[in-house]
Symmetry: C2
Subunit: 223 residues, 2 copies
């Protein structure tokens, strides 16, 4: 009997979409978005780029699969179903935090529309809106605002992480942003100047949640 057990004990170094996606995630996490190329990936997997293309259609599919993997894992964990409001906050915060750790996920979410990761977020939100008693007519709009707000913040945070040379002091980074803001004419940009003062001691995550709460308040007020 030469036939090995189906798909079990093949060569241990066999390539697979899973191994490729895992390696891609490692590169993205440790060296950033720009470090992932088919050459670095092939080097890490000790193969050639042609072999990778046998398992993956193109770079876009690879990035989508990587982002889906991370988001699915995150959303699966954070389930709090006592209060639908809390459930929505937990989903939103989960996405926010996952992008804090893997900023490239934010880039991918805002670049590629209607991928599975987005639908998962959408479903999680929508189901809880129903539980909240939002009428069916209004559910689509309500879930859409929440999702787009989350995607907007995701994109911005990913973009910020892209410029941040890697672990630059956070307060120095905030200060440099505030400085850029105050360079504009105060007469033309009074609000920007007023807010620039609040930037240094400013908590991204707290402000993100405040946004979620404002939207939830809006959804519940228009019933």
């Amino acid at each position: 009997m030469r036939t090995r057990n189906q798909r079990t004990d093949r060569r241990t170094d066999a390539l697979s979409k899973e191994r490729i996606v895992d390696a891609a995630i490692e590169i993205l996490d440790t060296d950033g978005e720009s470090a992932l190329t088919f050459r670095t990936l092939a080097a890490r997997l000790a193969t050639g780029s042609g072999a990778i293309y046998w398992h993956v259609a193109d770079k876009n599919e690879l990035l989508t699969a990587a982002a889906n993997h991370i988001v699915a894992r995150t959303l699966g964990a954070s389930v709090n179903d006592a209060d639908p409001r809390e459930g929505i906050r937990a989903i939103a915060l989960g996405v926010f935090n996952v992008i804090d750790i893997h900023p490239w996920v934010g880039t991918q979410l805002s670049r590629e529309p209607w991928q599975t990761a987005m639908l998962q977020i959408f479903e999680g939100i929508g189901g809880r809106l129903r539980a909240l008693g939002v009428p069916e007519q209004a559910q689509f709009d309500a879930a859409s605002v929440l999702l787009n707000y989350i995607l907007g913040v995701a994109g911005q945070n990913a973009a910020n992480a892209r410029l941040l040379p890697r672990e630059v002091d956070r307060s120095a980074f905030l200060a440099s942003i505030a400085a850029r803001w105050t360079q504009h004419d105060p007469a033309e940009y009074p609000f920007v100047h007023q807010v620039a003062a609040q930037i240094p001691n400013h908590d991204d995550q707290e402000q993100f949640l405040a946004g979620i709460n404002l939207i939830l308040a809006g959804i519940e007020s228009t019933r």
Copy 2:
């Protein structure tokens, strides 16, 4: 007197940042984001890429300048200051529509943080929130939700426009999205399935405005 009048009657074909940005906008609008390269741009301006680099640092600066140009022109036009609520809606709708016409602006807004275009939107919103009577403490958070929601929608619409092969029938496009949604397991994605039915006769702009109204309601309810 050989000296010509300062900066007036130079060679009529002289390059300038303005001419370069204008040409870039034309290419982006007529042939899409992927069509803008330093080669196509040089060809259109009948010059070489080196000459362009004398006026523009890199492609990022070029795109930022182009987006700022378009957004500034749009926001300058749509001023309605009878009601601050209407003013905010006008700004949001202005950005939405400008991205409908120039989708690449949406890509740029979500990719490059804290550029002038974003600050202009932020300032327009913030000033009107103040006029609305939102307490100063809450203005930052309130302006931030609105801005991030707008940016989220901007990014998604830009991404959609990128996939749309150019002027494909809109209803066919919506139908294909709904089809993709319903491919997922109905048991796992009940909300997505419910909403997929509403996609075909669905107005993007209307839903966008509904989102703005929900957020405004939330802002006004938590005072």
